[in-house]
Amino acid sequence: MTRLMFEEIEKNKRNSWILISLFIIVISLIGLLFSYFYDSYTILLVVIFFSIFYSVIAYNSGDSMILSMLGAKEADKIKYASFVNSVEGLSIAAGIPSPKAYVIEDSALNAFATGKEPSKASITVTTGLLNALNREELEGVIAHEMSHIKNYDIRLMMLAVVLAGLVTLLSDFFLRSFLYRKKSSSSKSKGGGIEVIFILAGLVLAILSPLIGKLIQLAVSRQREYLADANSVVLTRNPTGIINALKKISMDPDPLVDSANKATAHLFISSPFRKNTNAINNLFSTHPPIEDRIKRLQEM
């Protein structure tokens, strides 16, 4: 193992802890707001307990949550023999236990890896990707994902999806229920205070969730996509596979994975959203432009 990789692993483990702590703090702040309003410490305690409980679940089974959220199914060993075999082969090359192979029925060309550590990891590809790529290109993509697994990128990304996802969900919930209450409150005019709390909690979360998203993007830096591309070449000893695969992926007219949303975007090998040539969008996007990645690989 190289020193660079060792540093990457340490950084990812540290950032995972920071992310969990941030999550617990943010949720507890919301709890504090409610407990202040209702003048009851029990609420705060319950909320803190819940946030810790949810973090433990997110850490241990965030990957299964993501896989079922995206509708991924374990790959059939006979139907998808070449995919399953390539995953096993490249895990041998990387010197890690073989991850599980999953498939999403979707015509988009995309792939991602998730899990809390290399021994409990999985690689998922879309059926569209399996149809479009030849074996050499598929191995390039799998080797790219294998690098994310070996680096513990998967742990940080998994936590980012599951924890930030809940924050977004809660913020939606508070804001929506505020709007709903506003409509129905014309008949019953009591309980004005709770509205204030709901909108306050919703606003705090609404402001925080993009902020957290930004932090995650800083942590899940775009640098690691370049690194994974380079490691793919190291593993397969073949730059052509990943280059051609990226070319095909970039030409995919509809890279949208139907079940993907903003929270799961940075999991994928290429952004699962429609390409946007807008410079600002590019600046804040989860992925570096594919053309740039291909150029770097060609210069290797």
Partner: protein, 183 residues
């Protein structure tokens, strides 16, 4: 008094450095052993698949005795080989024999339509890939190990505890994938 304290600290520092270096070398050596075991697993897997392959194609390819004998011969020599070098050579021979077998099989359209044969072909070619990958990993680890026991201060520990260089698994030239990387 002071001088003894300093001496003690120096001795402890050197001793712990020794322990760290020694443990590092041991773990690397074990990693290489595991990598070697992985190659062995894949070689065995391929050997186990060959009788199935012969069984599956016997009916179709009666007149291709030469290819079969070559495959069986190479298969037997892998099982008898003990050294890294011997295994590498035998494995390369079997890979070549299999390659020419599948080339010959191209001439039998009936065979290529057989589901069973296609499955076996996928199994064997992916096992070939796994052999290549396990070999690559083994060589990577052995290279790191061999370098480490040569550089100071690891070389000191290595010579005291008799860590010797390990052989890398060098593939037959014809077997190597035709890939050129500029790094």
């Amino acid at each position: 008094m002071d001088i003894y304290l300093i001496l003690l600290i120096v001795v402890i520092a050197i001793a712990s450095l020794f322990v760290i270096v020694y443990n590092g070398l041991i773990s690397l050596k074990n990693q290489a052993k595991n990598a070697w075991a992985q190659i062995d697993v894949q070689l065995k897997r391929r050997n186990d698949l060959i009788p199935n392959l012969v069984e599956a194609v016997k009916g179709y390819m009666k007149y291709e005795k030469d290819v079969f004998t070559e495959i069986t011969k190479a298969r037997a020599s892998i099982m008898s080989a003990r050294s890294v070098e011997g295994k590498a050579k035998a494995s390369g021979e079997l890979s070549n024999a299999l390659k020419s077998f599948f080339a010959v099989a191209e001439n039998y359209p009936k065979l290529k339509a057989s589901e069973n044969f296609l499955q076996l072909q996928e199994e064997i070619s992916s096992t070939e890939n796994k052999i290549a990958y396990s070999r690559q990993y083994y060589n990577d680890v052995v290279m790191v190990y061999n370098t480490r026991i040569e550089v100071f201060p690891q070389s000191l520990v290595a010579s005291i505890f008799k860590f010797t260089k390990m052989d890398s698994f060098i593939a037959d030239e014809s077997e190597r994938k035709n890939v050129e990387i500029k790094l």
